[in-house]
Symmetry: C2
Subunit: 147 residues, 2 copies
């Protein structure tokens, strides 16, 4: 089992805005994809759609301003059953976001792509909270021919 | 053992320019850090310096336009003995770069940071080859308080 790991520091004095951006449909649409629907409640399923496909995520843990965990219940075969774990904490003027997409069976080439792409989306989340403007799909940063 | 993985597609019709950006001091200074010195030959040691510290990399494999491998011989404790493996291949109008920083002993928080930071530097490499201008340190994209 191999994981995708990331860490960004968002300049915001409490973890609240980052937590909101991970736990509301409006917030998620502001940095990941414009086309976000579904339920962001515990046990709900969020539906993220992109020009090339999409992901359905069951919300399996919500600890206000501390942690969010999703389980992938729909999407590319490699993603099904993997989990996406967001941990937040305050550190001075920053909210630190520790990200882990875990449970990949093999380090396939698609996983390399997803790692880079997650990095750009985390920068989009950071920008959304810091400036009010993220870069969600279809206005996202292109990393390759696979975008 | 856990790895950092990334993949970018650089719009360039042959792998040559990407290979040059990984195997010459001038090329490396164009996307990773302005302050790059040392020998880029097989068995040589490249010295990369940043405002907060630096890395020394022994060049352990050079396969023109296909593969470059560095072993970390100086730098933060977590990096010593890890390897950085670059694989290149042509795919239509793109040069695909598969990146792996392998041999981390533990998925420490610093590894999360390095994963995100490598992603931004790979985008800098892509930009250098595509536009002639990268974003090497100290002009690099800031991802957190640790930059």
């Amino acid at each position: 089992m191999v994981d995708i790991l990331h860490r960004v520091g968002v300049e915001t004095p409490t973890t609240e805005k980052v937590y909101d951006a991970l736990t509301t449909v409006e917030g998620l649409a502001g940095w990941w994809t414009d086309d976000t629907k579904g339920s962001a409640d515990l046990g709900g399923v969020l539906e993220f759609r992109f020009p090339a496909g999409g992901f359905d995520m069951e919300v399996v843990e919500l600890r206000p301003s501390e942690r969010v965990v999703w389980r992938v219940v729909g999407g590319p075969e490699e993603w099904i059953g993997t989990t996406i774990d967001w941990q937040l904490r305050r550190d001075g003027d920053y909210t630190i976001v520790l990200f882990r997409h875990q449970g990949w069976r093999e380090p396939v080439e698609f996983m390399h792509h997803c790692s880079t792409k997650w990095g750009t989306y985390l920068m989009s989340l950071k920008s959304l909270v810091e400036t009010g403007k993220g870069a969600p799909a279809p206005h996202d940063v292109r990393v390759s021919d696979w975008d």
